[in-house]
């Protein structure tokens, strides 16, 4: 059970970390923005609190130190510097590490962690204000706020408060978050250790709180524990009196004499307000209240289920339509058409839900560019256009690695050093533009840099030297750039710490190919390079060509098809040794009847010419029925080892056709041949 909660916590914390990173990047551009600082502080605060609750103790402690620093920043005691931002970025990485592994056990790592914490603490290394003997802890205040009020909050938890999982200390934290607070704790009721019941609470508190928030904000802190503690909140004075010597004396006296603070007595003291600054303070926003729920978290399996149900509805709707038209009943046809309209809208909506904005990933790229450029002493602007473009979550999952690789390439090899850029007459600051937009049923993503570019001649020469192309063949510029994607083109000469770990653009092409996307490159020497990805909107819907082999229907994805030829009976003797000569071309053919172990057939057939790793291969089928847009569904567990069929698709009339995985089919065929 607890594991489940922990997992949930990690998931939520990753969101918090994500938020933190985003805010930090913003802060880097506008170091004085109070709202961003507040956002950072809040994210840290939730990490700290949650961490302690779910047993991430190191995380909690670590974040606590970080939070202290940002508390100072927030109160204007510390200003935001580049050092601080870099340190915080490192700290975020550390937090991610905690979330991955939990508490640190390795002694070496522990040592490093302590060094890190010390570094954080150095930011707040002015004389520390600890708890002194009479149990008073306090926040230092430097400014007084004329709109604020000071309250006395008396909290007396019932002894059973802990049994509900409430940690009263969090309540104190929450009070601290509202403003400045002085906490006096009463521990007189705590019994001797042998009589101590660890599940009961014996401590009570008086909190003197200075805040600009109204009294009901304070009450809200206790909203969940109202029945589990005696609570009294009363206003003592306007303005901030926490730093007044009279109050300190008063508290000291009260503590020494063992008396509790009484609001009557405190109110009775006249707090002269002449010291209070008259400058109007910036009004703090009530962040919590304004946080509207703009999105809800839903398990992705539920979305899949929804999409499934909608596809089924679409299928049945098609049957209904057919039936209505055949029946000739005008009213039925009318109804069926109305349902069809609704079904279409429902389908579009359901598919839209399963899309997620590309934005979530972009953060990582922004961070990558920032870190890499610092490391390489380059100056780079990373500009994002179209971050709100949405893609199927499965596509986004496949996209991250290739994009990381591409952007790394830009930073590492594309953008030149600042002095080199000045020599070329460019701005010393390089630019990488990430651009995404819709084009028809596709999404186009471009990564554009204004770096040194690629000289096509260099590529051509390199490809010739590697024996990838023939010296005498003339190639267009586009064809030359396509050579970059051939496996074996990337060299290990250029292995650097950052990109080119022996992985080249051929891997990018393959990865993008897996999600049925296309990659292309264009470049102008000294002007820059553009890498373009063309991606389908969703993986589950494909455009397919419906064909038959024997009495089974198959769908071949249109994206891999080049041409379709009819194959008359008299032409079938043109096939010799597995190769056909057609229209002046020779290419190998594979008979699908052979692959699917069907009987031989002598009638008219068709050849579907498909692309396979730069080669053309013909697939022989019986009939070509037509082009359809279909939803690909996975086979169940019993058929998961199926090699050449990637899934099944339900047609409009409810029948099922098999979706062919062309690459695996060809691969499978050749492997089988080798074994024979």
């Amino acid at each position: 059970m607890i594991d489940k909660f922990r997992a949930k916590f990690v998931e939520e914390s990753l969101d918090n970390v994500h938020d933190l990173e985003e805010a930090l990047l913003l802060l880097e551009n506008d170091k004085g923005d109070k709202e961003i600082i507040e956002r950072i502080f809040r994210a840290m605060h939730s990490l700290k609190g949650g961490g302690a609750m779910f047993g991430f103790n190191d995380l909690s402690e670590f974040t606590h130190h970080l939070e202290t620093v940002f508390d100072w920043v927030r109160n204007g005691k510390l200003s935001v510097t580049d050092d601080l931002i870099s340190l915080t970025f490192n700290a975020i990485d550390q937090i991610k590490h905690f979330l991955n592994v939990g508490d640190i056990t390795d002694p070496q790592e522990k040592k490093e962690l302590n060094v890190f914490i010390t570094r954080i603490q150095q930011f707040v290394s002015s004389p520390s204000v600890g708890k002194d003997d009479n149990n008073i802890s306090e926040d230092i205040s430097s400014t007084e706020d004329d709109e604020s009020k000071t309250f006395l909050v008396t909290i007396k938890p019932h002894s059973n408060i802990l049994q509900n999982g409430t940690n009263p200390l969090f309540l104190l934290d929450d009070l601290h978050a509202l403003g400045q607070a002085v906490v006096i704790s009463y521990t007189d009721n705590v019994p001797e250790i042998e009589n101590l019941d660890p599940e009961s609470c014996f401590v009570s508190w008086d909190v003197l709180l200075n805040t600009v928030e109204p009294i009901n904000e304070i009450q809200d802190v206790f909203i969940f524990v109202e029945d589990e503690c005696d609570l009294d909140i009363s206003e003592i004075s306007k303005g901030n009196i926490l730093q007044r010597a009279e109050l300190k004396n008063f508290i000291d006296e009260a503590v020494h004499s063992g008396q509790k603070l009484s609001s009557e007595v405190l109110k009775g003291i006249s707090w002269v307000t002449e010291n209070i600054s008259t400058e109007p303070a910036e009004k703090k926003k009530v962040q919590l209240k304004e946080h509207k729920i703009s999105s809800i978290r839903v398990a992705s399996t539920k979305i899949d289920e929804l999409v499934n149900l909608v596809s089924e509805l679409v299928t049945i709707q098609a049957q209904l339509n057919l039936h209505a038209e055949n029946s000739g009943d005008a009213q039925l046809v009318n109804l069926s058409e109305n349902i069809q309209k609704l079904t279409r809208q429902l389908r579009d909506n359901a598919f839209e839900i399963s899309l997620i904005p590309i934005q979530n990933d972009l953060m990582r790229f922004q961070r990558l560019v920032r870190d890499l450029s610092k490391e390489l002493n380059k100056e780079i602007d990373f500009i994002i256009e179209g971050g709100d473009i949405e893609l199927d979550k499965n596509i986004i999952e496949h996209l991250t690695d290739p994009l990381l690789h591409m952007i790394r390439n830009c930073v590492d090899h594309g953008i030149e050093m600042p002095d080199e850029r000045i020599k070329k007459g460019k701005s010393p600051k390089g630019t990488i533009i990430f651009k995404a937009y819709y084009e028809g049923a596709s999404v186009i993503i471009k990564v554009i840099d204004d770096g040194k570019g690629i000289n096509p001649e260099v590529i051509h020469k390199k490809a010739i030297a590697k024996g990838l192309v023939d010296e005498n063949v003339e190639l267009t510029k586009k064809e030359i750039f396509d050579l970059v994607f051939m496996s074996g083109f990337s060299t290990k000469e250029s292995v650097s710490d950052l990109s080119g770990r022996g992985v080249g653009m051929d891997v990018v092409k393959r990865k993008i190919g897996e999600i049925r996307g296309e990659v292309s490159i264009d470049s102008e020497p000294d002007k820059g390079t553009t890498v373009t990805l063309e991606l389908p909107l969703t993986l589950s819907i494909i455009d397919g060509l419906l064909v038959t082999v024997s009495d089974t229907q198959y769908v071949i994805p249109i994206s891999s098809i080049e041409k379709i030829y009819p194959l008359e009976v008299e032409d079938q003797n043109k096939i010799f040794n597995g190769v056909i000569t057609l229209e002046g071309e020779q290419f190998p053919v594979i008979d699908l009847r052979d692959i699917f172990n069907e009987e031989e057939f002598d009638g008219k057939k068709h050849i579907i010419q498909v692309k396979f790793e730069n080669k053309k291969i013909g697939l022989i089928v019986d009939e070509v029925i037509g082009e359809f847009q279909t939803v690909v569904k996975p086979f169940g567990r019993l058929l998961r080892d199926q090699e050449v069929i990637s899934g099944a698709s339900i047609m409009g009339d409810g029948t099922i056709s098999m979706v062919v995985d062309v690459n695996r089919l060809i691969h499978h065929h050749w492997v089988q041949k080798l074994h024979k």
Binding site: T552, G636, L638, D641, Q642, V644, I645, G654, T655
Partner: protein, 153 residues
């Protein structure tokens, strides 16, 4: 434990009655050959896949798995759709001659299997129950899955 019972679904294969745990049954459909789409390159006991509420569900024939001689399809021939481990992706259909009934049986009424040998690909039985003058042989679904998966390569 005494007094505890399980719920079984019983069906006919040839002239014998078999049963398995009914909690894993999701659906019972009449078997119509036209609704089952053949999947190429599979073993003979995999009949193909059906469209069940928009999901693709593989269908196996228990009569072929148990190597029952001369069976015929009739209007009683049915597909029992089961979902072991309660996962959508592990759903599959089992073709049987006739679905009889669902009944509860107290654990202490389950006797050791009377069949000492396996039948076809089914190597062992879970137990035997006497229900209304008939002997019902209990089959473990997970065993069926394991057998299919090991033979399906």
């Amino acid at each position: 434990m005494e007094g505890d019972f399980i719920t079984l679904i019983s069906f006919n294969l040839g002239d014998q009655v078999y049963a398995f745990d009914s909690l894993q049954v999701r659906n019972i459909l009449p078997y119509e050959e036209g609704n089952v789409a053949k999947v190429p390159n599979t073993k003979d006991f995999i009949l193909g896949v059906i469209n069940l509420h928009g999901n693709i569900v593989p269908v196996t024939d228990l009569r072929i798995i148990m190597k029952i001689a001369d069976w015929k399809n009739s209007k009683d021939t049915s597909i029992i759709v089961v979902s072991p481990e309660d996962k959508l992706e592990s759903q599959f259909g089992i073709v049987v001659d006739l679905v009889k009934e669902v009944f509860e049986v107290e654990n202490d009424r389950i006797m050791p299997p009377s069949f000492q040998k396996g039948i076809g690909l089914i190597e062992s039985f879970e137990g035997t129950v006497q229900e209304k003058d008939e002997f019902v042989h209990m089959i473990d679904l997970m065993h069926v899955i394991n057998q299919i998966e090991s033979k399906n390569v």
